[in-house]
Structure formats: structure tokens, C-alpha cells
């Protein structure tokens, strides 16, 4: 039997092909002999589809099936990408038993004809109004009437490859069609021949299948209706009859749920809840290009999403807010949360339970008096909490007024006046101070400490934070309170000692002012701590040159002995004066004074130099009028005197070399005492031009030299005199001598007698030989002088 099967063939005995034009598919029905059915053979069938117009096999498929004894024919469908009206399609089949190696003979081609020619009064285009997916291809055909030929066949916009099969049937393929605006492509076909031109238009639609529904979720607000929501997804570009359709199916009840979908930001659909509590909902979204599904299974009692509370109302005390609201859906036990928004942006959350009743409430305590709060509420199911409702609309409340809390910080400036003192009072709010109401005013009361006198009183509007009062020389107690519509704050008290105390202060005002140094963020002060005080106060003026000077003060505890004073008003180059007070029993005493700059700057004005005294070796300079006061932008630390001969570099003794930016060299002398405003530059050369400059310097340095003063040292007269003596006198003397030369010669340089020239030699008797020798024995000397005793002896 095995050998027989190998060689057996079971040809197709029956083949019928029909067309389904709406679905554009061929329906093929065929069969083989009864024996194959009886043997329940597994068979393979090779099916070929041919387009007669193109004369090509457009499709080949192997179809495997196991036959049964029922003898029913076999079926197979084929979807055509080209409309079946466009041309004839043929199908043939051959078979092979699985156990066999031999294919049967092909069946004869079974043909389904196309339209051939147009039956209408114009050409026909197929398909008409097809929906295709963006990026896919479409093939259309145009069939003209008998006797006509195709003149034109194109799409608008032009996305096509045109091919023609015969003059009466044209094919148009549009490849990778993109989405258009509007979302349809028009196809035009015109025939020509005979009388007149006839044409036809169709459109096809380009779109996308629907997206998978995102965030599909169902809930109820009131246990009466179920609402399902989901994200719509991207635009399919298909509208009207081709737009997306939505279907809801409940799996447990196996029923379609009639539901009207509404899509704005999100899509939603709702229906009434019946007795069913557990649901398994399947949403199908479908358009001509595809369908997607999403499911949600849930117990409706676990999916309560209440509506937002509404109609908030309430009332307040000074520290409490009693809030009420309405639930849109009664009958559900809710758990609610109230948000309290403070003026500073902080929020508090308070939880509360609500019953099944229609109204909920909460009392929120611990609030500040006379303060505006914004409240809103949201609720969730108390049992099986799922989600909070949306927040209710916010409601604003203002708590009632209460007494001002905390105290004011007060300070004073005392200026002696005729008969007493003018006291300027200042006050400011401390961090702990709360007005707790509107219409704040400040009440100032002052009375003598020692006498039982009637206190004086003024009331100042909250617009002001300072006032001036006059008191006499006695000690006074001054009290400042803040007042609102309800009550007063606790008083802030200060004691002004009697005028002797003030005089003492005045004498203390002669205290030495210590210089302090500024830093990037302020001016650092320190003071001697003393055990006798329970606090310290530092005061200063933000604008020392102005009136009023904007007096500021700061308080420090008893253990403080230093502080960094910062102020936005501090600027470089301004000298600020600080007074440090010790405070005990509300009485302040001046302890120390400090002065300093946030940052010293170089002096803007140079010392006005006068030349007092000039000699041939020195010059004395003076700048007595130059101030070293607070008008300077830094503490004057001293002066630099710069000197140089005009033509040469400096080489003065006891000076230091200073090189200017232009490379020239000056001699620099330093004076380290700011009060020393006179200086003598020595070792100058006489009869020489010098340039000089005097610069003051501070901790911020000095400005570059802009101007010099010029001097010329006189000739040195002593030298002149000496010169005179050395030159003139000898000259005169020489002239005299020359004039009276003989007298001078005779006087000063008499001629020394020469024996050879002596008259004696004319006395021939006295001459011995040739030599002119005077014989002594022949001469009777008048006198004899003995020069050398020994020789004289010889003689």
C-alpha cells in the first residue's frame, strides 16, 4: 500500500471561482476524488492566481489540509490588491498527497472576468473611496467605454506610476502614499474618442489605524454610573464614515454596552450601574484600517472617584476656621483632606472623615489672627480608597482680629535743648511681633520716674515709626505700645536717666573713637564685655551726612562682645560712627564709640601744597589746611612726598625709588603721621629744577599723581663768595704787584749781590790772578761776621 500511495495522484475534480466585490477577494472552491476523502488523506494543494491582462502569475500559495470523510469541498480566499473589476483573474490548482512524491496535473484555468468596458456614460475608476494606510501602495484602474481610449489618468497630488494595459484599461499605482491635507487623494481619468471628452473623478483616503487606547480605566463617582476614560491617541486622518468607532463589551455578562463616546482632551463613555459589582470591560477601537482593544477588570466598589466637594463656606474666630462643604454624591462614606494655604505660600493638610451625609466639615485651629487663608478640600472613598477627587474650588477666609502679640523694639536719640532734652523715639517690629488686626497705631506714653506726675501721651499712625518728644532734665520712663481694634500689645519700656546722666553721657561722648575695619559683608565691631549689663545695643546712622540720618540700632545679648554690622545702605568711602551701649533695667549707657568704613577709598583731593621755604639745598612744603576728618573717604594714614629733578632720575639721599607707570623714577618720602602737614626735602642740588608732589594715602591707597609743582633751587652764595675770594682777590693783588713790581721786588726779593758783579772787582789791586778773589788781608773790613767757627779758626 505504501508503494501505491507514493505513486498515487488525486487530481482536482472540481474548481469554481467567484468574486466578492465589496471585499475585493476571489473565493475559490474545489475538490478531489471521493477516494481521497475516504482515505482521509493529508494533501497539499498548489494554488496559482493569474491576471489575464498582465499574463503573469500574481500569486502562488501552498495550502495543506487533511481531508475528512464528509466529502465537503475545500475553500480558499484570495484578497486582490488590484480591483477585480480592472481585469480578468484566473485560478488553477494541482494536488499532491503528503505521502506521495508526484503532483497531479494542473486543473484548467478558471477565469473571473473583469468589467472590460465601462457601462456608464463616462469612464469608471476602481476602487472608489478606498481607505489605505499611510505609507502603503494603491493600484487603481480606469476603464473607458467601448470605442473610447484613455486620454489622461492621473492623481492629484501626483503620486503615481502609470502603466497602461490596453487603450481601454489603464492602471495607476501610487506608492508609499503620504497623508495629505485634505486627507483624500483625487484620481482623474479622461477618455477621448468620438463625440466629446468624458471624464471621471474618484477619491481615496489615506489614514492610519487607531492607536491602542492608553490609560483605559473605569470608575464611578456615585455608585450609579460607571465612567470609562482613555487617551484618544494620534490623529488617524479618517473622518465621517471612516472615523474611529468605539465598542464596549462586558465579558462576564457577555453583552455589548451601549455607550456614547465623547472625546475632547480624553475620551469617555458612561452607563448606569446595575446589580453587577465586578466588571471586565473590553474597549475596541476600530476604523477601516484596523482595530485595537484594551481591557479593564475591576470591582466597582473599589473604583470610587468622588466628585470634587462644592459650595465651601465657613466662619472664623481669631485662631480657628470652621469649614463646611457639600458632597455632590451622598450615600458614599468619604475621607476628606483640607489644604490650608498660608500667605507665605506654606500649606498644611488636615484630614477628616465624612459620613454618608451630604455635608462635611472640619475645624482648623492654630491659625494667626487677622490673616487670610485659602482653603480647598478633596475627598476619597473611606473604604477601599482609590483616588482623590479633584480639589474643590478654593475659598478664602480671614481670621478675626486679636490683641497684637509680641513687643516693639524701641530706641532713642537724645539731644540737649534749652530747658531739657529733645528725645527722638524710634520703633520697629520684632520678628515675634504680630499686628493681629488692622488699623494699627502706636501709643507713646512718657512720665517722670520719681514724681507722681500725670503721664503724657500721643498716638501715632502706623505710617510712622519715629516721633520726637521734649522732656526736662528729670529721669523719664517712656513706654510704646501697638494698638489695634481689639487691644494693645505688651509695652516696650525705656528709661531716660536725668540730665546729669546725659551730661555724663556727653562727657563720655568725648570717648575716644576706635577705628574699625570693614569687610565684604559689613563692619566688624567688638567691645569690652561687662557683667553689669543684661544686653548691649549698637546704633549708627545709615546716612551720616544727611538729616535725618536714618538711625538704626541692633540689640545683643549679655554674652555678646562683638558683632558684624551689615546694612544695605553701607557704601565704600563713607565713615560710619557706631555707639555701643550697655543696657540694664531698660536703661542704656554709652560705653564705647567706634568709627570705620565699609571699605576705605583713596582720597579724591590732593593736599593743597604751599612752598614755604626754598634754599639751594632744600625746600619746605606745607599743606596745613588739608582735612583728616570724616569728610575723607578713608582714614588718612599719612602722606607721600615725591621729588625728582626735571631732567634726570632721582638720586636723592634718604629717599626711596618710586617708578611711575611711564617708567620715570621719583624719589619718595613717607610721612606716617596724618597730622604732620609740613615737610622739608633736603639734599637738593642748587640751581636745579625739581618737580614735586604730595599725596595723602588711606587704607584704600592713593590716587595716581596728576599734577606736580615745580621749583628751581637758587645758586649757592657761599660758594660764590669763596669763588670770589679765590679768584678776584688774587687777581687784584697780582695787578698791584705788577704795577709796583720794582718796589715789591726790592722789598720782597732783593737782589743777592754777586761777587762777579761786585764793584770791588773793579779794584784791581785786590784781584789775585784771574780769579776774582778778594784778598782779605788787603782789605780792612768794617765788620766781620763769623759764619763757621771751624773755618774761621782755619783762617
Amino acid at each position: 500500500i505504501f508503494v501505491l500511495l507514493e505513486s498515487l495522484v488525486f487530481p482536482v475534480t472540481y474548481l469554481r471561482v467567484s468574486k466578492d466585490l465589496p471585499l475585493q477577494c476571489l473565493q475559490v472552491e474545489w475538490d478531489v476524488g471521493k477516494s481521497a476523502h475516504d482515505a482521509e488523506l493529508s494533501m497539499s494543494f498548489e494554488i496559482q492566481v493569474n491576471r489575464t491582462g498582465e499574463n503573469t502569475t500574481v500569486w502562488t500559495e501552498f495550502y495543506n489540509v487533511t481531508l475528512d470523510k464528509s466529502g465537503k469541498p475545500l475553500h480558499w480566499n484570495w484578497d486582490s490588491d488590484l480591483p477585480l473589476e480592472c481585469m480578468a483573474h484566473s485560478v488553477r490548482i494541482r494536488s499532491k498527497a503528503e505521502a506521495s512524491k508526484i503532483w497531479s496535473q494542473w486543473s484548467l484555468w478558471e477565469t473571473i472576468l473583469g468589467l472590460g468596458t465601462s457601462n456608464y456614460s463616462q469612464p469608471q475608476i476602481f476602487p472608489d473611496e478606498k481607505v489605505i494606510e499611510e505609507g502603503s501602495d494603491i493600484t487603481l484602474c480606469c476603464i473607458v467605454r467601448k470605442g473610447q481610449i484613455i486620454m489622461e489618468f492621473f492623481s492629484l497630488p501626483a503620486v503615481h506610476n502609470f502603466s497602461r494595459t490596453n487603450s481601454q484599461i489603464g492602471l495607476l499605482t501610487a506608492k508609499t502614499v503620504a497623508h495629505q491635507k485634505p486627507s483624500h487623494v483625487t484620481v482623474f481619468c479622461q477618455e477621448s474618442g468620438g463625440k466629446g471628452d468624458h471624464y471621471h473623478y474618484v477619491v481615496f483616503f489615506v489614514g492610519k489605524p487607531p492607536d491602542l487606547p492608553h490609560d483605559f480605566s473605569c470608575h464611578t463617582r456615585d455608585m450609579k454610573k460607571i465612567i470609562c476614560t482613555w487617551s484618544q491617541g494620534g490623529d488617524t486622518h479618517l473622518y465621517g464614515p471612516h472615523s474611529t468607532k468605539y465598542t464596549f463589551f462586558e465579558e462576564f455578562a457577555q453583552k455589548l454596552i451601549p455607550c456614547t463616546v465623547n472625546c475632547s482632551k480624553r475620551c469617555s463613555c458612561s452607563w448606569d450601574i446595575n446589580q453587577q459589582r465586578v466588571y471586565n470591560i473590553m474597549l475596541t477601537v476600530e476604523n477601516p484600517l484596523g482595530k485595537k482593544t484594551a481591557t479593564d477588570a475591576f470591582d466597582v466598589t473599589h473604583r470610587i472617584h468622588p466628585s470634587a466637594p462644592s459650595e465651601l463656606f465657613g466662619h472664623c474666630s481669631d485662631t480657628k476656621i470652621m469649614l463646611y462643604w457639600k458632597h455632590r454624591n451622598k450615600g458614599i462614606e468619604l475621607f476628606c483632606q483640607t489644604e490650608v494655604l498660608h500667605p507665605d505660600g506654606k500649606t498644611e493638610l488636615h484630614n477628616s472623615s465624612s459620613t454618608h451625609l451630604q455635608y462635611g466639615s472640619i475645624t482648623v485651629g492654630g491659625q494667626q489672627p487677622y490673616t487670610q487663608y485659602t482653603l480647598r478640600v478633596r475627598c476619597g472613598a473611606a473604604q477601599h480608597f482609590w483616588r482623590w477627587s479633584e480639589w474643590s474650588k478654593a475659598q478664602t477666609f480671614r481670621t478675626e482680629e486679636a490683641s497684637p502679640s509680641g513687643k516693639l523694639d524701641i530706641w532713642r536719640e537724645i539731644i540737649p535743648a534749652l530747658g531739657g532734652r529733645n528725645v527722638t523715639l524710634f520703633w520697629k517690629l520684632t520678628p515675634s511681633f504680630q499686628a493681629n488686626g488692622r488699623s494699627i497705631s502706636y501709643e507713646i506714653t512718657w512720665e517722670k520716674v520719681e514724681e507722681d506726675s500725670k503721664p503724657e501721651h500721643i498716638s501715632i499712625s502706623s505710617v510712622y515709626n519715629t516721633t520726637r518728644i521734649f522732656i526736662d532734665s528729670d529721669p523719664y520712663k517712656i513706654s510704646v505700645v501697638a494698638k489695634n481694634n481689639v487691644n494693645y500689645s505688651l509695652p516696650s519700656v525705656m528709661i531716660i536717666p536725668g540730665a546729669t546722666g546725659t551730661e555724663n553721657e556727653l562727657s563720655i561722648s568725648n570717648l575716644k573713637e576706635d577705628q574699625v575695619i570693614g569687610a565684604d559683608d559689613g563692619i566688624f565691631l567688638s567691645w569690652e564685655p561687662r557683667n553689669t549689663y543684661d544686653g548691649y545695643i549698637v546704633d549708627w546712622c545709615n546716612f551720616p551726612a544727611l538729616q535725618p540720618c536714618d538711625l538704626q540700632w541692633k540689640r545683643f545679648g549679655p554674652s555678646s562682645s562683638s558683632a558684624l554690622i551689615s546694612s544695605a545702605s553701607f557704601v565704600p568711602g563713607v565713615r560710619y560712627n557706631f555707639r555701643i551701649y550697655g543696657s540694664v533695667a531698660n536703661t542704656a549707657s554709652l560705653l564705647e564709640k567706634k568709627t570705620g568704613y565699609l571699605k576705605e577709598l583713596a582720597p579724591t583731593l590732593d593736599p593743597p601744597v604751599k612752598k614755604i621755604h626754598l634754599t639751594f639745598h632744600a625746600v619746605t612744603l606745607s599743606w596745613e589746611s588739608y582735612p583728616t576728618t570724616a569728610s575723607q573717604p578713608g582714614f588718612i594714614r599719612g602722606y607721600h612726598v615725591y621729588v625728582s629733578p626735571v631732567q634726570e632720575d632721582c638720586s636723592l639721599k634718604e629717599s626711596k625709588k618710586h617708578v611711575l607707570p611711564d617708567g620715570s623714577v621719583l624719589c619718595k618720602y613717607t610721612i606716617e603721621n596724618p597730622e604732620e602737614k609740613r615737610y622739608t626735602v633736603r639734599h637738593l642740588m642748587p640751581n636745579t629744577k625739581y618737580k614735586l608732589a604730595v599725596k595723602a594715602y588711606t587704607g584704600g591707597g592713593e590716587t595716581p599723581i596728576a599734577n606736580f609743582i615745580y621749583i628751581e633751587t637758587p645758586f649757592d652764595t657761599n660758594t660764590l663768595y669763596l669763588l670770589g675770594l679765590l679768584v678776584i682777590v688774587p687777581s687784584v693783588a697780582a695787578a698791584l704787584c705788577h704795577w709796583k713790581m720794582k718796589w715789591v721786588k726790592a722789598c720782597c726779593c732783593p737782589v743777592v749781590p754777586s761777587p762777579n758783579k761786585s764793584k770791588v772787582l773793579s779794584f784791581k789791586d785786590l784781584v789775585i790772578g784771574s780769579e776774582k778773589v778778594l784778598k782779605i788781608h788787603d782789605c780792612k773790613p768794617d765788620a766781620v761776621a763769623v759764619d763757621n767757627n771751624s773755618e774761621a779758626q782755619t783762617l
Binding site: T186, F188, Y201, V203
Partner: protein, 164 residues
């Protein structure tokens, strides 16, 4: 009728006349090709019914009746066109807004003309011939029919405005 109904009618017709061409141009643009390039061929009114409005009508009564027929026809046609465009071009917001506004003005005109015909001429009924319903037609045919109506409307409304 209000005392100024004639004046209001005249203004309404003037408004429609002023906006007709823009409506037609926008309609062509929104249909895509070949409507802009083949307007004469596709939107020709040949073989297509549209109530006429001849300028040589003698009596005011005839004018009023003709106008009533015109605007009743237009109102129905605009209904078809709007429905079709909501289906074919739902994203063409400006076109749909203009169609809605033109429809509203047309309906106001019908109301005023009804009152005038009744009050001045004791006419309570006018036979109106309407155009073909585009429902169920192919998409291209719907677009073409709307184009034909609006093109003719531009011509006829100018006649009506001139007479008033």
C-alpha cells in the same frame, strides 16, 4: 415685524454679498486639487438647479418672493455642504465657521422675509424648489456639488444686493 426689518434685510444681503467670494475661495482651497485648477470645469452650474434672481423683476412683491426662494434654497444647500465638510474636512475650522455664519445670516434673512411677505403682501406660503440632497453620494460628488452651489451663489447674491 420690527420697524427696521427692511433695512436689516438689506444689510444682511449686503453682508452675504461681501463674504460670498471669500467663502467660495476658501471652499475651493479646502477641497484640494483639482478644484482650484479646474474650477470652471468641475463647478460649472450647467445641468444644475439654482434659483435665479433676475434683475428685471417689476414689483417689490416679486423681488421678495424670489429672495425668499433663493434663501430657502441656500439654507438647505448650506446644510448639506456643512454636513459633508464636517465629514470630509473636519479639521478645516475656518471653512466650517464661515459656513455656519453664512447659514445663520441666511436663516435670519428667511425670518425677516417671512415677516415682510406676511405683513406687506399677505403671502403665507411660498413653493420652494430645493437642490439634490448630497447624502449617500460619493465623496467627490459631494465636494463637486458644494462647489457648484457656492459658485452660483456668489453670482446670484451680487444681483440681489444690487437690487436692494
Amino acid at each position: 415685524c420690527r420697524s427696521n426689518v427692511y433695512e436689516q434685510t438689506r444689510k444682511q444681503v449686503a453682508l452675504l454679498n461681501a463674504t460670498a467670494q471669500d467663502l467660495f475661495s476658501l471652499y475651493l482651497k479646502c477641497q484640494g486639487e483639482p478644484f482650484s485648477s479646474e474650477t470652471d470645469k468641475l463647478c460649472s452650474p450647467n445641468g444644475f438647479f439654482f434659483p435665479d434672481f433676475h434683475e428685471n423683476r417689476t414689483s417689490e412683491k416679486e423681488v421678495m418672493v424670489a429672495m425668499y426662494k433663493l434663501f430657502a434654497f441656500l439654507n438647505a444647500s448650506l446644510g448639506n455642504i456643512t454636513r459633508d465638510q464636517e465629514e470630509l474636512n473636519p479639521t478645516a475650522k475656518e471653512l466650517l465657521d464661515r459656513l455656519h455664519n453664512t447659514t445663520k445670516t441666511t436663516q435670519g434673512l428667511i425670518s425677516n422675509l417671512t415677516c415682510l411677505l406676511c405683513k406687506n403682501y399677505n403671502i403665507f406660503q411660498v413653493d420652494v424648489r430645493y437642490g439634490p440632497n448630497s447624502k449617500g453620494k460619493r465623496a467627490f460628488k459631494k465636494k463637486q456639488q458644494g462647489c457648484q452651489v457656492l459658485r452660483k451663489y456668489v453670482q446670484v447674491i451680487s444681483h440681489a444686493a444690487r437690487i436692494l
